[in-house]
């Protein structure tokens, strides 16, 4: 017997979680699609966003400033990382790229631990979004509703950048064929740097807007990174729309399974990923060719 009000509420939880995963994953996937680099430090970028925002919040007390600081700081970290390190790895085997980004992730996490300790920090939600909202069919924490809106807007913005601007066209062309973009006389390196920055910013932004829901700690990105992989594998590596679809599917699987037994929700998520791999090896919306 299914408790329908619980079902609807859990679907809603899934939507919030899914939107968040979609945002983080889209960052990972556009970086991979354009640069061919799987950034294992992406979870750390999520964490850095939370901390940068927390620092800004501590000094200003403004949630908006915190969000801006979180996003921009992580974008800066992304730009610098690409320029100083990642750039030298385009010609090296993919295993080296994995190793170096994995190492960078550890360095970021441990640097934060060094400066801020392991105890978790909290950023309260903005006063406008505190409390409970009655939606008629259920009550829901206002901030989580707001989070859904904020993340949706961010995804739309990312969509706009990717599909409506010149830089977006270059990025998408680069996903299709980076050699061609190169031969068109576009400075590929500058595009790569920018994409790495934007992709990281997506994770950093997610990190700070999620901070009021859960508290932040240095290792908060680890679990997120793995879930992001699942989303990307389900949606198709390199596909922006795939990341969004994969994120929503992942969020709903986790939430709906937890209706029956929360302990199985992540098991189900990984089983779903396995099924996708067997039935559609390149993901739901991915295409063959990138490996």
């Amino acid at each position: 017997m299914i408790n329908w009000s619980n079902f609807i509420a859990q679907c809603f939880n899934g939507l919030v979680l899914g939107a968040l995963l979609a945002l983080i994953s889209s960052g990972l996937t556009i970086i991979y699609g354009t640069l061919g680099v799987l950034n294992l430090a992406h979870g750390a970028m999520f964490m850095l966003g939370g901390y940068a925002g927390w620092v800004a919040y501590t000094y200003t007390g403004s949630f908006l400033v915190a969000v801006a600081a979180g996003a921009l700081f992580v974008m800066l970290v992304g730009l610098v990382t690409e320029r100083l390190i990642i750039r030298h790895f385009y010609a090296r085997p993919p295993e080296d790229q994995l190793l170096v980004t994995f190492g960078l992730g550890i360095v970021f996490v441990e640097t934060v631990r060094f400066f801020f300790g392991s105890l978790s920090k909290t950023v309260p939600p903005p006063s406008l979004l505190t409390g409970i909202t009655n939606l008629g069919f259920m009550v829901y924490p206002t901030y989580r509703l707001g989070l859904l809106g904020i993340v949706s807007v961010a995804l739309l913005a990312l969509y706009f950048v990717l599909y409506r601007t010149r830089i977006g066209m270059i990025v998408r062309a680069g996903i299709e064929d980076s050699v061609m973009v190169d031969s068109l006389g576009i400075n590929v390196y500058r595009v790569f740097m920018l994409v790495f920055g934007i992709g990281s910013m997506a994770a950093g932004f997610a990190g700070i807007v999620n901070a009021p829901v859960v508290s932040i700690a240095p290792d908060v990105g680890d679990a997120i990174l793995v879930q992001t992989f699942v989303v990307v594998v389900i949606g198709g590596v390199g596909s922006f729309t795939g990341a969004i679809l994969g994120g929503l599917i992942a969020g709903e699987i986790v939430s709906i399974t937890s209706m029956f037994n929360p302990a199985y929700s992540y098991v189900m998520l990984f089983i779903a990923m396995t099924l996708v791999l067997v039935l559609r090896p390149y993901g739901l919306l991915g295409s063959a060719g990138r490996e």
């Binding site: 799987l38 993919p94 080296d96 790229q97 631990r113």
Partner: protein, 619 residues
């Protein structure tokens, strides 16, 4: 000369054994605590398996924790939740379970390569973590782990030895580490070990040389899983507690980092890496009281190593040793510097006579060796090849020419089964091979040398040729994990004959990366030749060569053509016409005309095709 030059047998093993015996009396004075030393051995053992997987085969798995945990939990379960008390048998059972699990995971994860493979291993390891944590918590203790694992023992039936002091436990672990190392050394020195390195350097070529690379990858994946499972069991015995942490992503990451810090592809790297890792961790925490800072320091060290010192500490040490030794030898005998390639035309007939193509006593088999009907390939709407009917007879030397984009390479790829035709049939020696894989085609005696060199860059000429020769000698897949590569019957002979044939006999122990371009080109042909093909396809063998080299190579090809069938693509018409008997001209994916060299030269259709194509091809 042996295939692996090694003057003193077992010297590595003997030195390791001595070092292991001395370690407990030396290391404590260097600040290693006994439990740290034992822990190093455990992580070094997981690392050996991981090194076989990553360092030797190039498969970067971030999921070793799944097997580490599975093996450990299974052994721990037997020893704490059942009446089972024999620790060694429990360890072995845990290892077997880890191996079975590794096989199943490998089937799934090895469907993909590179980054996808890494992501899948991460995700699958997470499945194990969550499954261990709750659905299986009745067996694994979930968050609690499995406390109360006994100290290691040795049950001989009449007497039971318990290893419960630091020193005795150390020797217990050292024994297993040593056993694990010896097994790994055997594997590395076996034909399979060489093929693993071939897969790392160039998986597609390894496959094209007739090896079932998927089978070997799965093998090494299972082996690595078993190493991890065994070490997991040891961890439980050492701590008296089998922790759920063994399943965590962080554990996989540690294994990767330790191996990379120590140096992948060395087998000793994981030991060095684990020692560095754990010693620094002890030093920072108990001596400097810097808490978690050690991880930051190690993270930075790791990143720097990946950027600058690709082969880790062990690699750096080996480079230093080579440097020192090289200098000494350099002073002693400067004359031994590699001589320039001498052309050895004299030895060629003898060599080729000693290296007959298989399956094909020419005299007995007149008629076609290869026959295609209606062979077509299209990509989307583009027709690369259409409706090709093509026949080559035994012993024939056939040329294929055509303007750029005529579909010559696609045609070759279909013949060698690298690409599945959209329609049509290929019959080779009376057998329909249309649906076969490239490794099977090679096993039947049909292989190709590539237009762009496809060599195993990090290996020597000898190893390159051995990889090719092993395909014929051992077949597609064989698990001779413990056979010495030097003792494979006929291997040395075949390698040396092939080397003589392509004039590389003096360069056998030179790494491919140090060869000159012309030498690499000849090795490329040598690789194909070493498989003893009855039908050899040569895709632009003369590409990029100087006129002098072309003359030599044509002579070389003529000599190797004795007793076998050759199909050659090339743009150098003069050389080609000198080499082949008949020529097939392709244009826009179809056969334009076929005939002897003279017929082709005068054919108006060919003239026309080439006037619109390569200018002055006949000049």
């Amino acid at each position: 000369m042996p295939t692996i030059p090694r003057q003193r047998p077992f010297v590595v093993e003997a030195l390791t054994a001595l070092a292991l015996l001395a370690a407990p009396f030396i290391l404590p004075h260097l600040g290693f605590s006994p439990s740290t030393i034992n822990r190093i051995l455990i992580y070094a053992l997981v690392g050996i398996g991981f090194d076989l997987l990553f360092g030797y085969t190039g498969l970067l798995s971030f999921g070793q924790a799944a097997f580490f945990g599975t093996g450990g939990m299974f052994a721990g379960y037997l020893l704490t939740q059942t009446s089972f008390t024999n620790t060694i048998v429990a360890l072995i059972l845990g290892t077997l379970v880890a191996g079975v699990v590794g096989y199943l995971v490998g089937l799934l994860a090895l469907r993909r390569t590179g980054i996808y493979f890494a992501m899948i291993t991460v995700a699958i390891a997470e499945v194990f973590f969550f499954v261990e944590f709750n659905p299986l918590s009745a067996f694994t203790g979930g968050e609690n782990g499995l406390p109360g694992v006994p100290s290691p023992n040795l049950m001989l039936g009449f007497k039971t030895f318990t290893f419960d002091s630091n020193l005795s436990m150390y020797f217990f672990f050292a024994f297993w580490y040593f056993a694990g190392l010896v097994i790994a050394l055997r594997i590395v020195r076996s034909p399979v070990g060489l093929l693993l390195r071939a897969i790392r350097d160039n998986p597609l070529r390894a496959q094209a040389l007739g090896h079932d690379i998927h089978g070997y990858k799965l093998t090494v994946f299972v082996v690595a899983a078993m190493y991890a499972g065994f070490a997991g069991g040891l961890l439980g015995l050492m701590q008296g507690f089998m922790p759920p942490d063994a399943f965590m992503f962080a554990t996989s990451g540690e294994i990767v980092m330790q191996t990379a810090i120590g140096g992948a592809g060395t087998l000793f790297g994981p030991l060095l890496g684990a020692a560095t890792w754990l010693l620094l961790s002890d030093f920072f925490q108990t001596t400097l009281h810097l808490g978690a800072t050690w991880k930051l320091v190690l993270g930075i060290v790791f990143v720097l190593l990946v950027i600058f010192l690709r082969r880790g500490l062990a690699g750096a040490i080996m480079d230093l040793v080579h440097l020192a030794r090289g200098k000494r030898q350099g002073r002693a005998s400067p004359a031994t510097a590699t001589p320039a390639m001498p052309v050895q035309p004299v030895s060629v007939p003898a060599a080729s006579a000693a290296l007959p193509p298989r399956h094909t006593p020419l005299q007995d088999k007149p008629g076609p060796i290869l026959h295609t009907t209606g062979l077509s390939k299209h990509y989307g709407g583009v027709h690369a090849n259409a409706d090709i009917d093509f026949t080559v007879n035994h012993g024939e030397r056939r040329g294929i020419i055509g303007p750029n984009g005529a579909g010559k390479s696609t045609f070759f790829k279909m013949l060698t089964c690298e690409v599945l035709p959209s329609s049509g049939r290929i019959v080779f020696e009376g057998q329909d091979i249309t649906q076969l894989g490239v490794a099977d085609a090679c096993q039947l005696g049909l292989t190709k040398s590539y237009q762009i060199n496809q060599l195993f860059e990090r290996l020597t000429v000898r190893h390159n040729l051995a990889i090719a020769a092993l395909g014929e000698i051992r077949g597609k897949f064989k698990l001779d994990l413990f056979r010495d590569l030097r003792k494979v019957p006929g291997l040395d002979a075949q390698v040396e004959h092939t080397a003589a044939l392509v004039h590389l006999a003096g360069r056998l122990d030179t790494p491919v990366s140090e060869l000159a371009y012309g030498e690499k080109r000849r090795l490329e042909i040598g690789l194909a030749l070493a498989t003893s093909p009855s039908l050899l396809l040569l895709d632009e063998p003369l590409a990029g060569m100087s006129p002098q080299e072309r003359v030599e190579t044509v002579a070389l090809l003529k000599s190797i053509a004795v007793g076998r069938t050759l199909i050659v693509i090339d743009h150098d018409m003069d050389s080609l016409f000198e080499l082949v008997e008949r020529v097939t001209v392709l244009q826009e994916g179809r056969v334009l005309v076929e005939g002897t060299a003279d017929e082709i030269k005068t054919d108006p259709k060919v003239q026309e095709a080439y006037l619109g194509g390569v200018q002055g091809a006949f000049a």
